[in-house]
Subunit: 337 residues, 2 copies
Amino acid sequence: SVSSTPIRATLFPGDGIGPEIAESVKQIFKAADVPIEWEEHYVGTEIDPRTQSFLTWESLESVRQNRVGLKGPMATPIGKGHRSLNLTLRKELNLYANVRPCYSLPGYKTRYDNVNLITIRENTEGEYSGLEHQVVRGVVESLKIITRQASLRVAEYAFHYAKEHGRERVSAIHKANIMQKTDGLFLKCCREVAEKYPDIKYEEVVIDNCCMMLVKNPALFDVLVMPNLYGDIISDLCAGLVGGLGLTPSCNIGEGGIALAESIHGSAPDIAGKNLANPTALPMIGVSMLRHLNIHDKADHIQNAILNTIAEGRYPTADLGGKAKTTEFTNAIIDHL
Amino acid sequence: SVSSTPIRATLFPGDGIGPEIAESVKQIFKAADVPIEWEEHYVGTEIDPRTQSFLTWESLESVRQNRVGLKGPMATPIGKGHRSLNLTLRKELNLYANVRPCYSLPGYKTRYDNVNLITIRENTEGEYSGLEHQVVRGVVESLKIITRQASLRVAEYAFHYAKEHGRERVSAIHKANIMQKTDGLFLKCCREVAEKYPDIKYEEVVIDNCCMMLVKNPALFDVLVMPNLYGDIISDLCAGLVGGLGLTPSCNIGEGGIALAESIHGSAPDIAGKNLANPTALPMIGVSMLRHLNIHDKADHIQNAILNTIAEGRYPTADLGGKAKTTEFTNAIIDHL
Ligand SMILES: CC(C)[C@H](C(=O)O)[C@@H](O)C(=O)O
Ligand SMILES: CC(C)[C@H](C(=O)O)[C@@H](O)C(=O)O
């Protein structure tokens, strides 16, 4: 019984187990009466027989139009001659910031309690420039690029996020003691932005030290902002603190408010199509997409159903050492709604 | 009552609290009758009034001659116009591998038990090339360099180490899904070396995934080998798992068997000269130097005395929330010998 006009959102089920868990999302959202109408497109590492393409222009346009989307796992083949589709999407849609909230989930015990931090990653440059070449035989180089524009933009996003979400502190993560020019520029931009937000504390932490502090006491951190590769590393580390990639939402933010929420776990080709995947990650990411859209009541409702299903532990899928089916787990979540 | 001729070893006390904790090492080693004769040189971020230098040729020659040394903390000033002395030593002495054993210490409780792994880091290139420049205003680049020679050399060291120490597996850590050429070359070299060691298992793990697995279950790893920056990050992360940089030995290995053991904690300028530093790190690193020299009886003896002193907890220094003096803690260790 939804009265408001539904919001159109793009759905990229992705590779491997993607289609099965995307199906779970659709069923759960439907059962919870979420006012979303999905616009589904295939983007992935296999050529789609219908479009003869890995990624069509229509798929990109769909996100540009709807300005919100949900993306399943896409495999990144090593050395297959084409670029990771994850990166292609970030680039084509100019998704300049990657935001990963990371908090301890009730009912999911790890070595850490009360983790509650946000990693914000510059998503377009750094070691991800794609510029590499052989200098002479046996000597290769990659270029790490840092620009003032991209650094200011992500720093601005981080401080704005901190302010909007009532966060106290932003830590810029760097290795400027070694890369004085590149990471030095990144820090300079963060400092400039920090001055505009006098109410938010600002600090700078060297990446190696940051990782050590994170595993000793993650409560030391609040919002972390950093260049691309450090963000890649630290966001996975943080996900590990609270249980793994299957539980951590990730959202890519682009100009004009585009938000593409994405699953960051693998596409698990070994179990694809076998009804064996644990279907918690993509719905949880769907929840974060709902929060982005300010549909908090539905977000809470679905999140609680998922957490209760996990806590109950009656349908352990293969990753949890059990034999439950994807569909059984999905139905259990729906029963908890 | 030492009968054998003493071994000459170089000692660089370093900056900040370095001289005080170097003094602890000397006293503890003397009390334990370790057959070492120290050759002490100043290397550090202040100009030495006696030599008018940060780092003299004699200091370098001393390590080259003795082929073994112990190095205290040296500060790395950000943007002071000269290179980190840590890096200068690695470069001048061609210290191509950095080895950090990381294991849970009895009597030192953390969130993790039974950690027992070794990180082996390429120590001369990668993002540490020092090659950086501004392309145009607001756009800077750093060069990451990977060479076949340095990659083979560190891979060879890692497999040799694994074999010598009865280790089962070597994991090469990389981001070749993004840096296909640079990290791709590193992996290629690791694979070549792996073929020569059929009894040692070999695997490749992407750095972000590696960090996640390390915080979830460090027992998954044995020996890890990796390019410079990843080594910097992962070795600190691993140190965090077992309690921090003050407890993790680090040894730099150079051509011809040179070994420079080093402390990797900071120089703590705020408490320098105040008899407040916790003196456990440098003696523990001295212990690892003794193991390198195959003086295992003395190493065990001193290590037990240090661990018992920590476990007893009667002399908590400032870092442990107490007020004990460096000299009190040192004397307690000596009493435990
Ligand atoms: C799959 C890979 C290309 C990607 C990255 O390195 O960014 C992933 O690790 C991530 O964090 O989204
Ligand atoms: C102090 C710094 C230059 C150094 C490094 O980055 O290598 C340190 O972090 C280390 O790990 O020895």
